[in-house]
């Protein structure tokens, strides 16, 4: 059940343009892994883009360095997994809030959305690299 059926990797400077490019990578993986139900594709894509956008919006590069976004997408028979890394960032171990803000607030829904869409979320901190590992169990395994 843990055999890798499709995998794609993406790395670029953490800019807004990277988010559109990453979305194209996600579209490409679904072309290969078309057996994944549409709901799971939609949920996974949404969570990965949310998490990567968080890196672009909130990651702070170490002085004199460049902040990079690195993403590995893996499709297994019953699990979808993404590793989203913030490379070259000032370490910030604190986690944002996962609760929904008031209706008229214009930000602060990203983590709540990721939590609602993923089965497990873990964060690994190694020096100047923070990695979010997002997993979603496929509802009807292939």
């Amino acid at each position: 059940m843990t055999e890798v059926l499709a995998q794609r990797a993406y790395q670029a400077p953490a800019t807004p343009e990277a988010i559109d490019e990453l979305h194209t990578e996600l579209d490409r993986i679904w072309e290969v892994a078309s057996f994944v139900p549409e709901l799971d594709q939609m949920a996974f894509t949404t969570a990965v883009i949310e998490s990567a956008s968080n890196v672009v919006q909130h990651g702070v590069a170490v002085p004199g360095g460049e902040l990079r976004l690195a993403v590995t997408l893996t499709v297994m028979a019953s699990v979808l997994q993404a590793r989203i890394s913030e490379i070259g960032a000032v370490p910030s171990p604190e986690m944002p809030s996962g609760s929904l803000p008031d209706d008229d607030e214009e930000s602060g829904r990203g983590l709540a959305l990721i939590e609602a869409l993923m089965t497990t979320i873990t964060v690994e901190l190694r020096g100047e690299t923070k990695t979010w590992v997002l997993s979603r169990e496929i509802e009807t395994p292939a």
Partner: protein, 110 residues
């Protein structure tokens, strides 16, 4: 993402084609800001060709809704696609931005 604006009899229709993400969110605010500044207060965002939204896009929608309401009008959304519907429901924002089946029907009961 591309936006187009069309003046209808009783509202202004803004259509967005593509992904409403952190790249497109500021553009939506700009487009709706121009519509409101021009004196159009009743706005329908036609999302038929908007195949993706994230929390940045959702934030822009809320900002646009506030702009329209502060001007004494309203912003409504129509023709939402499955991913947009999912995000609205998971964040409970469908209570504030209720999707309408058609753009023409969004203000029809007023």
């Amino acid at each position: 993402m591309r936006f187009s604006t069309e003046q209808k009899d009783s509202y202004t229709e803004v259509s967005g084609t593509g992904r409403l993400n952190m790249v497109a969110a500021p553009k939506l605010r700009e487009v709706v800001g121009e519509v409101v500044s021009a004196g159009n207060k009743r706005i329908v965002l036609n999302m038929l060709a908007t195949d993706f939204i994230d929390s940045s896009g959702l934030g822009a929608l809320i900002g646009c809704l506030k702009m329209a309401r502060q001007a004494g009008g309203d912003l409504r959304i129509a023709c939402v696609q499955p991913q947009v519907k999912m995000v609205l429901e998971l964040t409970s924002m469908n209570r504030v931005l209720t999707p309408h089946a058609t753009a023409e029907g969004a203000f029809s009961n007023d």
